[in-house]
């Protein structure tokens, strides 16, 4: 039988089963949301625009560009309670580079509420298991925004310098860090510290021991310890990379990215966004991730050689009852059937049956 479920559809089904097992509930989102919500938090949607239109009452609406904001807006708050939801939605954005409209398939989950270390551990474990669902050849990288921000705070508070140096960290460019530091008159000792910092990545044990040797400030130590606690729970099956840079106005703690062998971009984005919540006037913590499932199209999948098993040719004179019976007979043999009166030009079939 020809495979009727596409690979990414199968993956989405297994992901839903996985999240349900951990008590995450499905979340179905409205297609349109008031534009205000996104306007207030526009940097949250990294450099990408929102598609807007006015409704029949003249109110400005947005075609949902994101699911996270809507979920946290509605999450209830009470002590010790966590809202755990997962979703599988299409979101719509204006691409930052080409300025074209685009549709993105996302499957992900959010855990919002009174969170503790276990919740962070659970979410990252689920991110890991999600990647495993697709392929055993994957890399999950984690970072801690607190480590990055405390280090940069210790170097300079100049906003332009911070922006440029973050950009160099994102690109793993030592030579750029040196150039930027020179431009802003940063002393050599601090430049060396930044250069040392971006050369630290990979296997957690060695990364953490090198971080311990760096003498930056109290916040740096605190954040490093948080990362340590988490890594210890994760059993070393992740790698650490500080070139993951998310907006510091929203993300504060752990952030992570997932890569799959054979896909040339990052497929999983996640992190904890307590700062976003506090900006929205909430006391809760939040952590979540999304997988860009359209990037999984075609992964691990050999292109099938046929569109249908059987091309069933009938004529004007064929009785509909006979035709239906024949299709049923072929279906019962496990074959897919396309009934046609003449041979379509582009259809690829295994066999022709005429009646």
């Amino acid at each position: 039988m020809i495979n009727y479920l596409k690979n990414e559809e199968k993956i989405i089904l297994s992901l839903r089963a996985l999240y349900s097992k951990y008590g995450y509930l499905p979340y179905k989102m409205n297609k349109f949301e008031e534009y205000d919500l996104y306007a207030k938090n526009k940097e949250f949607l990294i450099g990408e625009g929102v598609i807007t239109f006015t409704d029949t009452h003249g109110k400005l609406l947005a075609l949902k560009p994101d699911v996270t904001l809507s979920i946290i807006k509605n999450a209830a708050e009470s002590k010790g309670v966590k809202n755990k939801v997962y979703y599988s939605e299409n979101v719509y954005r204006i691409s930052g580079k080409t300025r074209e409209y685009k549709e993105i398939m996302q499957t992900g989950l959010e855990c919002v509420g009174d969170l503790d270390l276990y919740d962070t551990y659970e979410v990252i474990t689920l991110a890991k298991k999600s990647l495993e669902t697709v392929s055993s050849d994957y890399v999950l990288e984690i970072s801690h925004m607190g480590i990055l921000s405390s280090l940069i705070d210790s170097v300079s508070t100049n906003e332009e310098f911070r922006q440029e140096v973050l950009d160099s960290i994102k690109k793993k460019s030592k030579h750029e860090i040196k150039a930027v530091s020179q431009k802003y008159g940063i002393e050599k000792k601090k430049t060396d510290l930044l250069c040392e910092f971006i050369s630290i990545y990979g296997e957690p044990t060695s990364v953490l021991s090198r971080l311990d040797k760096m003498d930056v400030n109290e916040e740096f130590k605190l954040a490093t310890n948080e990362l340590k606690e988490l890594v210890a729970l994760l059993d070393g099956s992740v790698s650490i990379d500080f070139s993951i840079v998310n907006d510091m106005n929203y993300y504060n703690g752990i952030v992570f990215n997932g890569f799959l062998s054979g896909v040339s971009e990052c497929v999983l984005f996640g992190g904890s966004y307590d700062k976003l919540l506090s900006k929205m006037g909430r006391r809760s913590n939040g952590i979540g991730f999304a997988i860009y499932t359209d990037l999984l199209e075609g992964i691990n999948e050999a292109q099938s050689k046929f569109d249908v098993d059987t091309l069933l040719l009938y004529s004007e004179n064929t009785k509909i009852e006979a035709l239906t019976k024949e299709i049923e007979r072929l279906n019962n043999m496990g074959k897919s059937v396309s009934a046609q009166k003449s041979i379509p030009e582009k259809l690829r079939y295994k066999e022709i049956v005429e009646i």
Binding site: E141, F259, L260, V263
Partner: protein, 209 residues
């Protein structure tokens, strides 16, 4: 196997020589033929020549794991890649040039002809200068001479072309040199190999200084 995108032309040949000196030689590349892809299986490396401005596209999309291209391309297209090393070759600068007697008195919209639209926009918006961009694909120098534009934003190497056409550099925007770039996902799965190449190349950059 590491796929390397090299920029066609003089810079690419220089870059290949640096790779060869690091032990990643692939002699067939120097043969004069029409082949596009060259492989040295034993060394685990495969080279291909592409148009210099396309190198970043091949790398960003993962068709090449690493590549070499000028900083001008990286600033124009802003690809999402790692920029691992400044190779310190192919040095030139991005500059504003115009006719010798042209003086920008800030009273009119400045007409700017360039291949590097984003670079020009960013530069002038940083100075809050109102400009009219004219996108050209080659022979940029001719634009101010014919009165198509007031100035051009282009790469200046020695300045000979400018001089011969009675033009001069008015402002420098940024220095340019060749950079080693890597696809972010490839870097995760081939970390050791890519690091090794970058280290070897860094050694040579030091020696060349």
């Amino acid at each position: 196997m590491i796929n390397v995108a090299l920029p066609k032309g003089r810079l690419g040949e220089k870059v290949y020589k640096m790779f060869a000196l690091c032990g990643y030689e692939c002699p067939s590349i120097l043969e004069n033929n029409r082949k596009l892809i060259f492989e040295n299986e034993e060394k685990g490396v495969r080279y291909f020549w592409v148009k210099p401005s396309d190198v970043s596209i091949y790398v960003e999309r993962g068709a090449a794991d690493i590549g070499v291209c000028g900083k001008d391309i990286l600033l124009e297209y802003e690809p999402d890649v790692y920029e691992l090393l400044d190779l310190n070759i192919g040095k030139c600068r991005m500059a504003v040039a115009g006719k010798k007697d042209f003086y920008d008195d800030n009273t009119q919209t400045l007409k700017v002809a360039t291949k590097f639209v984003n670079v020009a926009k960013k530069y002038y918006s940083g100075k809050c200068r109102d400009i009219d961009i004219i996108k050209l694909n080659g022979s940029i120098e001719i634009a101010p001479i014919l009165g198509l534009s007031d100035v051009i934003v282009d790469i200046v190497e020695t300045g000979t072309t400018l001089k011969e056409n009675d033009l001069e550099v008015k402002e420098e925007i940024f220095p340019i040199s060749a950079r080693l770039i890597a696809n972010k996902a490839s870097f995760k799965f081939k970390t050791a190999e890519i690091e090794k190449i970058a280290e070897f190349l860094a050694e040579q950059v030091k020696d060349n200084d």
